[in-house]
Amino acid sequence: MSTENERERDEEAANLPDKLGRERLAAPVRRTGMFGATTTGDTSGYGGLQVRGSAPVHSQRPFTDPDDPRTADFDRVADDLEAALGDDAGAVERVEVARGEITFHVRREALPQVARVLRDDPALRYELCTGVAGVHFLDDTGRELHAVYHFRSLTHNSEIRVETTCPDADPHVPSIVSVYPTNDWHEREAWDFFGIVFDGHPALTRIEMPDDWHGHPQRKDYPLGGIPVEYRGATVPPPDERRSYK
């Protein structure tokens, strides 16, 4: 009887608004204020508004939602990946299922191993990698740069996403060009735009920008670089300096 009371008390404590609120406050701030004004004062009264992002999602099994046909093979894929990785199953930090897509968050050291298994394991057979996309989150401390890969299996007609992160101070992610040669240019692009160094890439050079360009233009701390537009004496600032909604 007493143990049951205790459990109830614990459950209550876990759901107390105070605790939930504190958890919410621990989440990273995604946005402050209502407007993008940085040069002029924000007179809307919403300047102090803080919108927080959600904490990282840890999806729990079952990943397959019987009502959503898009998720039909997620449990199978997760099982097969776990089995194929064997002792390295810890490579997958967490799994996220959202919007009918499954994302495996992988430790960066383990990325080549995971990619090799994804391609070679007969149960997985992700023959096609549709490249890597860099994403920059200024506020995701210690994991600022994300490298996001999408894999497609033609054999099993399945699609998954693998995501890995690296801190801004140490922007290194192992290259998977040796497994998926198609990623050659995609990794060069991510280096060019985000400054992610893909260790082991055969020739990691700039691809889109001129060779002597400074900086990595698609990072969030790189300005858009527009110029004010003058029309008959009136000047409109470039899009990133305009007062606008966020």
Binding site: M209, W213, P223, L224, G226, V229, R232, G233
Partner: protein
């Protein structure tokens, strides 16, 4: 340029101007400088539906050394800018430039780090053609206007006079929203 530039001011020069203008405008050799979306419209103009051959311009030259018109069709990136300038320098005088589309004219909607905000930052432009992309008819209109300009281009001393007059006129003109003090 040639002998015509050295002629003295007078009736002879005026006549030569007309003859030279007619000759220049009637056989323009465009150099292809297709960059982006506008290039496709430029190619459409070369096709049978719009038929640029009507104006004696169907021979889109592959080499800048045998061309006198450069149609900058599309957005010019920072990486392309030196290439564009080199090709322009390779063209013999006299030469003209049409900035086709808003991107080539002013940067257009791509006001950002990657695009040169108007090709007139690197080469002198004779005709700005708005549109995103301009319709083939608009391109023909720009070509005809340029022909008109070429036909009426003055030479030698007349040219110098014209430039001075133009300069003065531009300084005198007033625009709404602009204060002149």
């Amino acid at each position: 340029m040639g002998l015509e530039e050295k002629l003295p001011n007078g009736v002879l020069l005026t006549t030569v101007e007309q003859v030279v203008g007619l000759a220049r405008k009637s056989s323009m050799w465009p150099a292809t400088f297709g960059l982006a979306c506008c290039a496709i419209e430029m190619m459409s103009v070369g096709g049978p539906h719009y038929d640029l051959a009507r104006f004696g311009m169907e021979k889109f030259g592959a080499t800048p050394r045998q061309a006198d018109l450069m149609v900058v069709a599309g957005r010019v990136s920072q990486k392309m800018a030196p290439v564009l300038r080199q090709i322009y320098d390779q063209m013999p005088e006299p030469k003209w430039v049409i900035a086709m589309g808003v991107c080539a004219s002013s940067g257009g909607m791509f006001n950002n780090y990657a695009i040169v905000q108007g090709v007139d930052h690197i080469v002198p432009v004779d005709m700005y053609l708005p549109g995103c992309p301009p319709r083939p008819e608009m391109f023909l209109d720009a070509v005809l206007k340029l022909h008109d300009k070429v036909q009426n281009t003055k030479l030698g001393v007349h040219r110098e006079q014209e430039i001075t007059e133009n300069e003065e006129r531009m300084l005198r003109r007033s625009l709404p929203l602009v204060s002149r003090d």
